[in-house]
C-alpha cells in the first residue's frame, strides 16, 4: 500500500471517526456532572473502612488491586521483551564504557542530587496512602535517582550495581510479593487479595491493612523493572561511544 493510498484511506476513516467521536462527546454527561456511583461511594467508604486518607492509592492497591496486578505483569512482560530484543545482535567483546563527563561541577552536583532524589522517591512511596504518591510514582522516582547516579558520575563504577544479577531477583520479589500477599488471603479462606490486616490509626503510616505491603511490593517491582530498562538502553548508547564511534 503506497503512502498516498494510505493517507487517502485514513482521511476517509478519520472523518467518520471524528463524526462518531463528536456525537459521543455531545451525548456524554456534562463536564462536572459526574453520574457514576462508585466515585462518591469510594470517597465515602474508603477512609472509614481502611483508615487511609488517600482514596486513589487505596483504590489502586485494595479496591481495584486485581487490575494493578495485571498492570504489574504488563510491566514485567514489557521489560522481559526489551531485554530479549536488546541482547540479540552481534556484540563481540564488550569494551569498557567511556568516562565522558569532563565537568567537575556536573559530577559533584549530580552526586549530591542523587541522595535527595532517592529520598524523595522513598518518601513518595512510604506516604503513598496518606498524601499523594504511591508505589508506582515513588518507584519511578527512585529509579530516576539511580539513573542520575549512573549518568552524572561514572557508569563504569556504578554500572555493576545495576547488573542483571541484582535487579532481576528484586523485580521478581516485587512482582511475586504482590501475588504472595494476595495468595495469603486465599490461604485463609478469603477471596484473593482481600485486605487481611486491621485498619490501624486514621491518617498515619500505620493504616490501610495490607495496602502498605502491596504498595512497597509494587514500588520494588517498578524500580527494578525501570532500572533494567534504563541500564539496557544506556548500554546501547554508552558502549558504542567507547568504541570510538563518535558522531
Amino acid at each position: 500500500m503506497t503512502r498516498t493510498v494510505r493517507i487517502g484511506l485514513f482521511s476517509a476513516a478519520a472523518v467518520v471517526l471524528a463524526i462518531l467521536l463528536c456525537w459521543t462527546a455531545v451525548d456524554l454527561p456534562d463536564f462536572g456532572n459526574y453520574r457514576g456511583p462508585y466515585g462518591g461511594l469510594l470517597n465515602h467508604v474508603a477512609p472509614a473502612e481502611r483508615h487511609v486518607t488517600e482514596v486513589v492509592t487505596a483504590t489502586v492497591f485494595d479496591y481495584r488491586g486485581f487490575d494493578t496486578l495485571g498492570e504489574e505483569l504488563i510491566l514485567f512482560t514489557a521489560v522481559a521483551g526489551v531485554v530479549l530484543l536488546l541482547e540479540q545482535g552481534e556484540r563481540g567483546e564488550r569494551p569498557e564504557p567511556s568516562e565522558s563527563i569532563g565537568s567537575d561541577a556536573v559530577r559533584v552536583l549530580g552526586a549530591l542530587a542523587v541522595g535527595a532524589a532517592v529520598l524523595v522517591g522513598l518518601w513518595l512511596t512510604a506516604f503513598g496512602y496518606v498524601t499523594p504518591g504511591g508505589g508506582f510514582q515513588g518507584g519511578v522516582a527512585i529509579a530516576s535517582g539511580i539513573v542520575l547516579l549512573w549518568v552524572a558520575t561514572s557508569l563504569r563504577v556504578w554500572g555493576p550495581f545495576g547488573s542483571d544479577s541484582i535487579l532481576d531477583p528484586l523485580e521478581g520479589v516485587g512482582a511475586g510479593g504482590y501475588i504472595v500477599i494476595g495468595l495469603a488471603a486465599l490461604a485463609s479462606g478469603l477471596p484473593f487479595l482481600t485486605n487481611l490486616f486491621g485498619p490501624g490509626r486514621y491518617g498515619t503510616l500505620q493504616s490501610g491493612g495490607s495496602i502498605p505491603f502491596l504498595n512497597w511490593a509494587a514500588a520494588l517491582e517498578v524500580t527494578a523493572a525501570l532500572l533494567i530498562l534504563f541500564s539496557k538502553f544506556l548500554e546501547e548508547y554508552v558502549v558504542p561511544l567507547a568504541a570510538g564511534d563518535e558522531r
Binding site: 478519520a14 467521536l21 457514576g36 462508585y38 488517600e54 486513589v56 514489557a78 526489551v82 510514582q137
Partner: protein, 114 residues
C-alpha cells in the same frame, strides 16, 4: 462549553492517529502512539470530574467534602507508568528493524524476509 474536554480528547486522538499514518521515522511513530494514549487519560479524567470537587485526598480535609472520582485516577496512573515500558519495547523493536533494514522510515522498509 461543557463538552470541551471531551472534544479535546477526540482531537488529540485524531492528531495522534494522523501522526502515525504520515510518519517518516519510527521513533516519531512510537511517540504519536503515546499521544493517542494520552487522549484516553484526558477523557477518563474529564469523565470523573465533579463540579467544585477537590482531589480525593482527605488528609487534613474534612470527610465529606466534594471530591472527584478516584477510580478513573487509579486506572490512569498505573497506565502512565506502564506506558514507559511499552514505549521502550516499541523502541527496541524499532532499533531491531533498523538494524535489519538499514532505515528508520516506515515507507522504505520492505516486507520482512524470513
Amino acid at each position: 462549553m461543557s463538552v470541551l474536554p471531551y472534544l479535546v480528547a477526540a482531537w488529540i486522538c485524531l492528531v495522534g492517529l494522523y501522526g502515525i499514518v504520515t510518519s517518516r521515522h519510527l521513533v516519531h511513530l512510537a511517540l504519536c502512539l503515546t499521544i493517542t494514549q494520552s487522549s484516553t487519560y484526558v477523557l477518563l479524567l474529564a469523565i470523573g470530574y465533579v463540579k467544585g470537587g477537590g482531589p480525593p485526598i482527605f488528609k487534613g480535609v474534612k470527610l465529606g467534602t466534594t471530591a472527584v472520582d478516584p477510580v478513573v485516577q487509579a486506572l490512569t496512573l498505573t497506565d502512565i507508568v506502564v506506558s514507559v515500558a511499552v514505549l521502550a519495547l516499541i523502541l527496541a523493536l524499532a532499533l531491531d528493524v533498523h538494524e535489519r533494514a538499514g532505515t528508520m522510515d516506515p515507507d522504505e522498509i520492505a516486507e520482512l524476509k524470513g
